[in-house]
């Protein structure tokens, strides 16, 4: 257990062990753990087929040997090892959340849980007045008014640079600076690539962005259809809008959703909108205080619920 140091009493320990055993037995019935390998394990391959050795494998005396701890995946002739806990592996078109660490000439450098920092060019970013024009030297001098160090930005991966670092773009209205919320870091393998990464939870008035790099943003809902970048505007009415404090009810909802994500990532369950909303609803139904969501009792209950859910899925499949 990585983050939470919980003191479980005897019954909770027994219940937790029973639920975890049930999870493990369900998984083995789907043969997921059969393909696990560790470093320097030989991967069984049929040597007659011309097997393509993918990521996480290497050749040792004609045998295919794993270089990572993970699960062996086979796709037609490709054999590769999918590592579980590792840094983010980017793909073009991924939606990520990054933190600005440097304002450099004509670009911002973002930290995104990758082996190198990503670059967001000034030309890949919408100007505050929204006009599409050539970036001038004045724009370059005003970069600091758009994003500054330690701002959180939502962007999309545009491609790779020649040295392997990422090139980002934030041209659409839904990308850009993230305000009035919390950022959570979870292991990237828990965030699956889906069609939608931006979620608007209506009943809580909260935006949830599941970045593929493991940075998850939970914040007050921002209406992107009527969003106008008021960053350089001097009208007092717009300034009032952006300076409005977040109401306490929304703050509580943000904290509850954030705690649900923390709990799911500590247990090791895949993060999705469904699992997060289910955990939040369950905590509201059971009248769990927001801070108690990270406590021992709710932790054990969540694991038990997940074990039951998977068992019912397996039964349905049969």
């Amino acid at each position: 257990m990585r983050d939470l140091h919980l003191s479980l009493n005897q019954t909770q320990r027994v219940r937790l062990q029973a639920a975890l055993d049930q999870l493990e037995s369900d998984a083995s019935s789907t043969a997921a753990s059969a393909a696990s390998v560790t470093v320097a394990d030989t991967i069984p391959v049929n040597h007659e087929d011309n097997i393509l050795k993918g990521h996480g494998t290497s050749d040792l005396d004609g045998q295919v040997v794993a270089t990572l701890c993970g699960v062996v995946e086979r796709v037609n002739k490709l054999v590769y090892v999918r590592a579980l806990r590792s840094r983010y592996k980017p793909e073009v078109g991924d939606i990520i959340v990054g933190r600005v660490i440097e304002v450099a000439p004509k670009r911002w450098r973002l930290e995104i849980n990758f082996s190198q920092d990503a670059v967001l060019m000034l030309s890949s970013m919408n100007l505050p007045d929204g006009i599409q024009r050539r970036r001038t030297a004045v724009d370059e001098l005003n970069m600091r008014s758009i994003f500054i160090e330690n701002d959180f930005i939502c962007a999309e991966v545009r491609g790779f640079q020649h040295d392997g670092s990422l090139h980002l773009q934030a041209r659409s209205q839904k990308y850009g600076k993230l305000e009035k919320g919390q950022l959570l870091t979870v292991p990237p393998y828990l965030v699956k690539r889906r069609k939608q990464h931006f979620h608007h939870l209506e009943q809580y008035d909260v935006d949830l962005i599941l970045g593929c790099n493991g940075f998850v943003w939970v914040g007050q809902h921002v209406d992107t259809t009527t969003k106008e970048s008021t960053l350089l505007s001097d009208e007092p009415s717009d300034k009032e809008e952006t300076n409005n404090a977040v109401p306490p009810e929304t703050r509580r909802n943000i904290c509850r959703i954030a705690n649900a994500i923390r709990l799911l990532s500590v247990i090791g369950l895949t993060l999705s909108v469904e699992s997060v909303t289910e955990t939040v609803e369950e905590s509201v139904r059971a009248n769990v205080q927001i801070n108690e969501m990270l406590g021992a009792e709710f932790y054990v209950q969540t694991v038990e619920r997940e074990a039951q859910r998977r068992a019912s899925l397996v039964r349905k499949r049969r």
Partner: protein, 243 residues
């Protein structure tokens, strides 16, 4: 002082000459690190944390931009030895052991796969009872595997000595400070290659070969244990994650 009892053939802690201390390992102890592990060999307890691959912090240190830069830092906690240590970092022994661990791990990490990045390995000794170097290397291997950093093979390390005309495996502090020779061996377990070989004091060549062979046997046993721990951890993570 008799380190091996002539009547029973047992050492001062009750082990047989070719018996290793009890091993225990735990993965994922430092939550902020990309990979971490706690490794115990008897009373020696060591914690390793790995950060990386991440952006190179000091551009001046980046020699080669086709490979990852591996940095290692060894330190002993103040409370790890019998007498509370004065300055646990920066003294000659720590610098030497940091260098040794760095070279050992660099030999097994596939640095060419992660150019322009940096991998930091921090090892700290929580309890020192002989064999800290070996425990650090074993802990670092586990931490690197936890962080998902590609490696050629599992590196394990073990020490052996020669006291009372008998080769002894896995010396503890009392046996180590007896003044006899202490051979530390680090091997790539599957490829059967030696990456670390250190000895203090003198030994005749044939005795040295026996002692080194004993240490290699110890390394292989540790590799077996480490492999089981890694496999168990991988299976656990995978089945919790679900489909």
């Amino acid at each position: 002082m008799e380190y091996v009892n002539p009547l029973t053939g047992l050492r001062i802690d009750g082990r047989r000459p070719t018996e290793m201390r009890h091993l225990k390992a735990q993965i994922g102890v430092v939550s902020k690190a990309d990979g971490s592990a706690l490794f115990e060999m008897g009373n020696t307890r060591v914690i390793a944390a790995v950060y990386g691959p991440r952006e190179v912090q000091n551009k001046g240190q980046q020699m080669n931009n086709t490979e990852a830069l591996v940095r290692c830092e060894y330190s002993m906690a103040n409370f790890s030895t019998g007498d509370r240590a004065r300055k646990p970092k920066g003294d000659r022994r720590s610098t030497e052991i940091s260098l040794v661990i760095r070279q050992t791990m660099e030999a097994c990490i596939l640095t060419k796969l992660m150019p322009r990045s940096q991998i930091d390995i921090f090892v700290q000794v929580l309890q020192a009872d002989g064999g800290t170097r070996s425990a650090c290397i074993n802990a670092a291997t586990l931490a690197l595997a936890d962080a998902g950093i590609p490696m050629r093979d599992i590196v394990t390390s073990c020490s052996a000595g020669y006291l009372c005309t008998m080769p002894l495996l896995d010396l503890n502090y009392a046996e180590d400070s007896a003044g006899g020779p202490d051979v530390t061996v680090g091997i790539l377990a599957k490829m059967d290659k030696v990456t670390l070989l250190q000895m203090d004091a003198k030994l005749p060549l044939d005795t040295f070969e026996t002692v080194m062979q004993l240490a290699i046997e110890g390394c292989k046993a540790i590799a077996q244990y480490i492999r089981e721990i890694m496999l168990q951890n991988t299976k656990q993570l995978e089945c919790r994650r679900g489909s």
